[in-house]
């Protein structure tokens, strides 16, 4: 059977910080409806790979393409297609939870932004915190808000770095269900995770990385 056209194509990715090589010769193809989980010990290079995939880091060598377009953090097409939850998401200190989601929905041109915001607020269970400013949220609530910003916008590829972090057990359950539903709707997902239950439930492929993000197992 012919393989589907990849949404994400990474070829020979290499990234070093000074003399320290973090990622070397990393290759990956992810098709629509496929969920790839990157696993491996701390320092294996999972987060660096993900940062290169979203354009937050510039690779020293190799190419990263989303739907045939080279990834650049400033390319609006990439910004439209790729939703991310990695560690560098910032919040406006003077906008409340609901105002953040409203702004994201409207900026992405969602016509029924008010309804979408209400729905996602209920889903991530932040209704009681809707008027709170981000500085007063707990770390778990901030993570829920970050995930909500990724789910309230159109997307073709979802990139998540340890999305289960700081979520309670119920939150991780919800996240797993949500990601399975996303995958079944045809979204491509790449996530790094240390949670075996989440990986087992969500991932269609598990890529285990060794030192310098060397692919040890791809199953």
């Amino acid at each position: 059977m012919a393989r589907k056209t990849p949404v994400l194509k990474v070829t020979n990715l290499m990234k070093a910080f000074g003399p320290v090589v973090i990622v070397s010769g990393f290759n990956l193809e992810v098709a629509a409806g496929e969920a790839v989980a990157l696993t491996g010990r701390n320092g294996a290079g999972k987060s660096t790979v993900l940062r290169c995939l979203v354009g937050a880091e510039r690779p020293d060598d190799g190419t990263v393409q989303v739907n045939g377009t080279a990834v650049s953090e400033t390319n609006p097409q990439i910004r439209r297609d790729v939703a991310t939850v990695i560690d560098d998401l910032d919040f406006f200190p003077d906008l409340s939870v609901v105002e953040h989601l409203d702004l994201f929905a409207r900026a992405h041109g969602i016509p029924d932004a008010d309804d979408a915001v209400d729905e996602i607020l209920h889903e991530v269970q932040l209704v009681p915190q809707s008027g709170q400013l981000p500085g007063t949220l707990s770390s778990g609530q901030r993570r829920r808000l970050a995930l909500a910003t990724a789910f309230i916008r159109p997307r073709k590829l979802l990139i998540l770095d340890e999305p289960e972090q700081r979520l309670d057990t119920e939150g991780v359950e919800w996240l797993a269900d949500r990601l399975v539903a996303e995958r079944q709707r045809g979204l491509a997902i790449v996530m790094a995770s240390h949670d075996p239950t989440l990986v087992e439930r969500v991932a269609t492929r598990i890529v285990r990385l060794g030192d310098r993000a060397e692919v040890l197992v791809d199953e």
């Binding site: 190419t63 939703a83 910032d90 406006f92 105002e99």
Partner: protein
């Protein structure tokens, strides 16, 4: 503690006991030992000894003596002395020049500007005291010492000295400078600056006395009163200079001197009384309240090492917003970029105090004109507008400081930045129109401009202020990975020095043609070029990265073509 005094208790069951309790074969448990304190009363700690010991540790960590630091930094010190001497000389000459001016405008400015400075210094002292504590402790002290059964009063007594001295020093020097530049006699300068310095110190002591009670109503009321009075005095200075207010202040000049001298004496007495009260209440300050100021200082110290004033402002904004905690949410309007602009407009209601700063900056062009600083007015007013507009550029700041948020919006960086500048640009335009009478000339200084020239100068100044503020909030962090620059103070990254001037540089660049008497279109052209650069249309790093990426893709496709297996054509 000696090793002999340690009591070691075996806490795990022996292998035999474990075997009796559970018939199932289990892995042999690791033998652990635990330390417990001996059952003796701890000795009473003397806080002074503890403090001396901490001092000793700190001194012990020092690797250089003051003499060595002085020798290494002689070039910097020499420069400071030279520049300081030049400044003093300029101040003395300006004082002599201003003292010779006998018009009503000069007389009112001479008396009222230093008075406004005194009130502003008091308001600032109260604001700073409330922000930092004024009594504070570091996180380490809070963790290691505040838990111990020691007297906090004895430990914290010395902490009162630093804010008192700082408030006294800053207020005295600033008021003396304004007084001298306004043309006050030297006796008057001493009276005014003593009132400012001792008054500020007394108010900081009042804040320290109120700190354990955590009451802020009195302090906030006093701060608002002094700030409003300072602004009112500035309005009077401008009104008199413009001839709008027929006020004569020459007759009250002598009385005012004695009034300020009296205020200084009362402040001194008040400070001494309040100091006793504050010291007696030190024991009651909550640890969280002490550490809050300490963490703020440590955060600011970190930012100051990189001269990152934007980060300092971020820390203050985060604290303010965390204190507010909850807002009444409002629904947005529009889609795409217009949603961002609407949200920025909506936020104006949430931050009304920012308008006070903007309104205060509007006094500057009028004051500069009243004080005959016609030529330098665009530069001075542009810098004041930078300070006034920065609070309105919160969106742009957050979108520029980390890539994550900007990446979540489906727009080009230039589009995002332009949208974030829209509301501040509208405010700058209003400011320019409101300031235009000052640039046309209100004080009959003999250097009045035509309406067109004045309006152009006002709008250029507004553009300079806006772009200066944009530059200030969008400047990146100092890159310590770049090749360092050799200086007398050691190796420094070049960006560290430029950080000092960010914002100021753009205002100076745009207003330079106006100051030098060149036509206004030069300033407009420079402003346009600066705008194009600041909105991020031409990011050199991005362009270079895109070029490299394109090269790599081309090489990869060539390689793929070369690797293709050639299928020989069938021959007949």
């Amino acid at each position: 503690m000696s090793k002999k005094s340690r009591k070691l208790i075996r806490a795990t069951p022996t292998a035999e006991e474990a075997a009796e309790a559970t018939p199932e074969p289990v892995e042999p448990a690791l033998e652990r030992t635990f330390f417990f304190l001996p059952d003796v009363e701890p000795t009473v700690v003397d806080e002074r000894e503890l403090h001396d010991e901490m001092k000793l540790w700190r001194h012990g960590r020092a690797t250089r003596t003051f003499g060595q630091v002085f020798q290494d930094g002689y070039f910097v010190l020499f420069s400071i002395v030279m520049v300081g001497a030049m400044l003093v000389s300029v101040v003395l000459r300006a004082q002599a020049g201003m003292a010779g001016c006998n018009t009503e405008a000069c007389a009112s400015g001479r008396l009222l500007l230093p008075s406004a400075m005194v009130l502003a210094a008091w308001a600032l002292a109260l604001g700073m005291a409330a922000l930092f504590g004024p009594v504070l402790a570091s996180a380490a002290e809070g963790f290691w010492l505040m838990d111990a059964p020691i007297s906090r009063r004895r430990l914290l007594r010395g902490r009162l000295v630093v804010p008192l001295v700082a408030a006294f020093g800053v207020a005295t020097v600033a008021t003396a400078l304004v007084g001298a530049l306004s043309g006050l006699s030297w006796f008057q300068v001493i009276a005014w600056s003593a009132a400012a310095g001792l008054g500020s110190a007394a108010l900081v002591t009042l804040a320290a006395a109120e700190q354990p009670r955590e009451r802020t109503v009195l302090l906030k009321t006093l701060q608002a009163t002094f700030a409003t009075a300072a602004l009112a005095l500035l309005v009077v200075v401008i009104g008199v200079a413009a001839g709008w207010l027929p006020v004569s202040v020459v007759s009250v000049a002598g009385g005012a001197t004695w009034l300020f001298a009296g205020v200084a004496l009362v402040a001194l007495f008040g400070m001494l009384v309040l100091l006793r009260v504050a010291i007696s209440r030190l024991e009651q300050i909550r640890r969280a309240r002490l550490l809050s100021g300490g963490s703020l200082v440590s955060g600011m110290q970190g930012a100051m090492y990189a001269l990152d004033f934007g980060l300092i402002r971020d820390i203050l904004v985060e604290r303010k917003m965390a204190a507010i905690g909850h807002v009444k949410p409002t629904r947005g309007r529009g889609l795409g970029l217009s949603a961002l602009i609407w949200r920025d407009a909506e936020r104006l209601k949430r931050n009304p105090t920012a308008f006070l700063g903007l309104a205060a900056s509007l006094f500057v062009p009028y004051a500069a004109d009243a004080l005959r600083m016609v030529q330098l007015n665009p530069l001075i007013s542009g810098l004041a507008l930078v300070a006034g507009l920065v609070p309105f550029l919160g969106s742009l700041r957050v979108l520029s400081r980390t890539g994550g948020l900007a990446r979540s919006f489906p727009f080009k960086t230039a589009q995002l930045r332009t949208a974030s500048m829209a509301v501040p640009a509208a405010l700058a335009l209003i400011w320019g129109l409101a300031a235009s009478p000052a640039f046309i000339g209100i004080a009959s200084t003999g250097a009045d401009h035509s309406v067109t020239d004045g309006l152009t100068a006002a709008l250029i100044t507004a553009a300079a202020g806006l772009l200066g503020a944009v530059r200030w909030v969008t400047a990146g962090k100092v890159n310590f990975q770049t090749p360092m620059m050799a200086t007398a103070s050691g190796a420094l990254p070049p960006g560290l020095l430029f950080n000092l001037f960010r914002g100021i540089d753009m205002v100076a660049l745009i207003t330079a043609p106006l100051i030098l008497g060149a036509p206004g279109y030069w300033s407009l052209a420079i402003a346009l070029a600066v705008f194009v650069g600041l909105r991020g249309s031409f990011n050199a790093e991005d362009l270079r990265a895109e070029q490299e990426q394109a090269k790599r893709e081309l090489a990869a496709s060539k390689q793929a073509a070369a690797d293709k297996q050639k299928i020989p054509r069938p021959t007949r």
